[in-house]
Point group: C2
Chain length 288, copies 2
């Protein structure tokens, strides 16, 4: 099944801005796979095909309630020896997302990029095996997106609000805690913001939801940046959290990229309005 | 440490409406304990003292992240042989909350009450040991408040939205799924509503948070009812969810009843405004 951080991220971000994807694939990544990205207008010039190589592979399974993913098999394959070369156009991109891969690779891409706003995702594997590199990578970006359990694990702090503050002290101005079906929380110097997940009766495959969230979140911020809005703007960040949630909610409705690749902006707008309706309340002072 | 469903509930609800508490206590529940309730104006006429008896007792511990409570010891004590007798004033109350206790006891109190809107809480213990009675009790109330894991367990449905629909099919028009630090979701015939938890850097004791939520939620609805608003009104239910969350957030800031007993309506209003600020976002259509 087609997946992977870059694929899910790019498709979600493509609704808001121009997306260029950088990374290696093997012979098994053919015209059909490229076509899914190009069908959404994603620029694939910097996808590097490694002859005789195999594309990164992940297989896992989910618990009863689909909140916890268990990894059964991870094969770095072509990522093991990847030496990133960014084209001039990719190097000059104003915004950069470093998908979940070895932190040293993320650092090399970061150092080649001229982006003014950069973000990264990571996972428990790198927290356990490459902690020092990961902390160095985190210090070099403006925004970190991680699962809440990973933020607790990385900082050794059980309270999420304190853990996020400890993470911000490592360098990034913005921290997003992904909370699976429970939604996401955003932390910055200004304080925090939280939204629940969009509740769905039909969840078929949570794989890629975090990357679709990141794609909606950063894609929206980049679209706003192109209109002159600072990606650190508090109002824009909140809206970006909502768009991220909406894209993640579409992602889980079907396997792989099936749902997001056929999505329309009208459907996104409709769900965003619905999301607002089911999360907002009025304030009235206590009357007794 | 003073606690228990009725105590936490009553204190939280006392900020919004007149509260009468019904239940048995032992000799160990003295003037100090009664004073905590009376200090918030809670009517204690229907608290029945059992001579030589001991008050209901619970002891537990929490996991690393304080999301999961583990029961170490539960002693029903005076609840084991309790035969509820409601005074005329309690019988005539328009709203009734049945705290978490044996479902058959909840049913007996429900059958003595003339309440037009009633709600109950329960727990995994009764789902496992008294399932049939619990289902009967649920069919007799208008609203059920349970942890999301308990709703899944009771209905055998892993998806929360479907599980809540299955629970509504058992009788109650309103279902509230409590999600610990992740907030709460509300389900009714009309659809659903969800809010995240209020994120706090200092969480000292989550015990009673669910009952404080229920007290804020139903207390607010009863205050609105007294002003002529139907407790099933969608807007009032959303606001009640927010007040419930705010009361739960104060509850966890200190042990036992320490924080809520000294709370002011101004502090509640201030946190509610803050809660709105950290959960609301604006909607703008996708521009690309």
């Amino acid at each position: 099944m087609l997946g992977g951080s870059a694929v899910h991220f790019s498709l979600a971000a493509s609704f808001f801005t121009e997306v260029r994807v950088v990374g290696p694939v093997g012979d098994d990544f053919g015209p059909d796979e490229l076509g899914v990205l190009e069908g959404r207008g994603v620029n694939t010039d910097d996808i590097e095909r490694v002859e005789g190589g195999e594309t990164f592979f992940w297989r896992g399974h989910y618990e009863y309630d689909m909140n916890l993913a268990h990894t059964d098999d991870t094969q770095l394959n072509v990522f093991a020896d990847f030496d990133p070369k960014l084209s001039a156009a990719s190097r000059d991109a104003e915004m950069l997302f470093l998908g979940n891969i070895q932190p040293e690779l993320q650092r090399r891409v970061r150092s080649e990029s001229a982006a003014r706003f950069s973000a990264l995702d990571s996972m428990n594997l790198w927290i356990e095996t490459e902690r020092e590199s990961l902390v160095a990578a985190i210090a070099e970006v403006d925004c970190v997106l991680l699962n809440d359990a990973e933020i607790r694990m990385l900082t050794g702090e059980p309270n999420l609000a304190r853990a996020a503050r400890a993470l911000i002290a490592m360098g990034p101005g913005v921290v997003v805690a992904k909370r699976g079906e429970y939604g996401a929380a955003l932390f910055s110097e200004e304080g925090f913001f939280a939204i629940p997940g969009f509740l769905l009766e039909d969840v078929r495959d949570p794989t890629g939801a975090g990357d679709s969230f990141a794609g909606g979140f950063l894609g929206y911020l980049d679209g706003r940046r192109a209109d002159g809005t600072d990606p650190n703007d508090a109002t824009a960040l909140r809206q970006a959290m909502a768009y991220g949630s909406v894209l993640a909610s579409f992602n889980v409705e079907d396997f792989g990229t099936e749902r997001v690749r056929s999505l329309t902006t009208e459907q996104i707008d409709e769900r965003l309005r619905e999301f607002r309706r089911i999360t907002h309340f009025d304030v009235e002072p206590v009357t007794t």
